[in-house]
């Protein structure tokens, strides 16, 4: 399935909903969109992988790139994922120790204090 990208705002968070296949061919489009969001001023970004049915190392590399960029800018980055096959990918690569992973967007937004509790 083709890559789909949709953005919405939840409080101070920018939620990017990703669907389809994120691989060596489509990952550059995900990278571009994340850069647009960050360059456009988004500082608290949540990427919702709920409708992703394939994710490879190139896609993971793009997500790590966004995490680093937001950390440098004093922002935050979190992922929403509750599918076991995808969670296994994060465990095997040890990236589950790098990304904040949440089962729902609500949990991600609630767990990412944007100010006082940080």
């Amino acid at each position: 399935m083709e890559l789909s990208l949709a953005t919405r705002t939840v409080g101070e968070h920018t939620v990017l909903e990703v669907g389809g296949e994120v691989d060596v061919y489509t990952a550059p489009r995900l990278r571009e969109r994340l850069l647009e969001l960050i360059d456009g001023g988004a500082r608290h970004v949540v990427v919702d992988l709920g409708r992703v049915d394939f994710l490879d190392s190139t896609g993971l590399g793009v997500l790590v790139g966004a995490l680093k960029r937001l950390r440098t800018a004093g922002g935050s980055f979190a992922l929403v994922c509750d599918k076991e096959p995808l969670l296994k990918i994060f465990r095997i690569t040890a990236l589950d120790q790098v990304f904040p992973l949440h089962p729902t967007v609500d949990a991600a937004v609630g767990a990412e204090p944007t100010g006082a509790n940080a």
Partner: protein, 144 residues
């Protein structure tokens, strides 16, 4: 023994095709349904790695994928890049993954190898028998 061979010009757009074919042949060969996601990911990673090497070295040669089901499901992904480029694969420890100095290419390579090693029990990365290049060989059991 049924063998399916696929060769494709080293462009990212064709990696998906290789994954689809690889999974179709795996299913036909009798690989368990619950392993097919792993087959799809591993073939994709091996092909992504080969495409990246060909592009890095400016090689127009096709990447070869060969699938056979003689007793088990074996997939070979063959690139034509200089061998020293292909063998030095290492998985990265978690504290290095988000390290600022790590390049995107190094990160993706390390993560790709971690996925291959994590999802394929029977994995070999070795020089091709003839000429220049590296072969990634992956084997899965067949039968229910």
């Amino acid at each position: 023994m049924a063998t399916v061979r696929l060769s494709f010009s080293p462009a990212p757009v064709h990696v998906r095709t290789a994954r689809l074919v690889g999974v179709a042949v795996a299913r036909r060969a009798g690989v368990r349904e619950d392993l097919l996601d792993e087959v799809r990911l591993a073939i994709g990673e091996a092909c992504t790695r080969a495409v990246a090497l060909h592009r890095q070295y400016g090689l127009p040669d096709p990447v070869l994928v060969e699938m056979s089901d003689a007793g088990s499901y074996a997939v070979r992904v063959v690139d034509r890049a200089p061998i020293e480029a292909g063998i030095g694969l290492t998985a990265l420890p978690p504290d290095e993954l988000a390290n600022e100095s790590l390049t995107d290419e190094a990160l993706t390579t390390g993560v790709g190898f971690a996925l291959l090693a994590g999802f394929v029990e029977d994995l070999q990365v070795r020089p091709v028998d003839e000429g220049v290049g590296t072969e990634v060989r992956m084997v899965w059991p067949v039968g229910r």
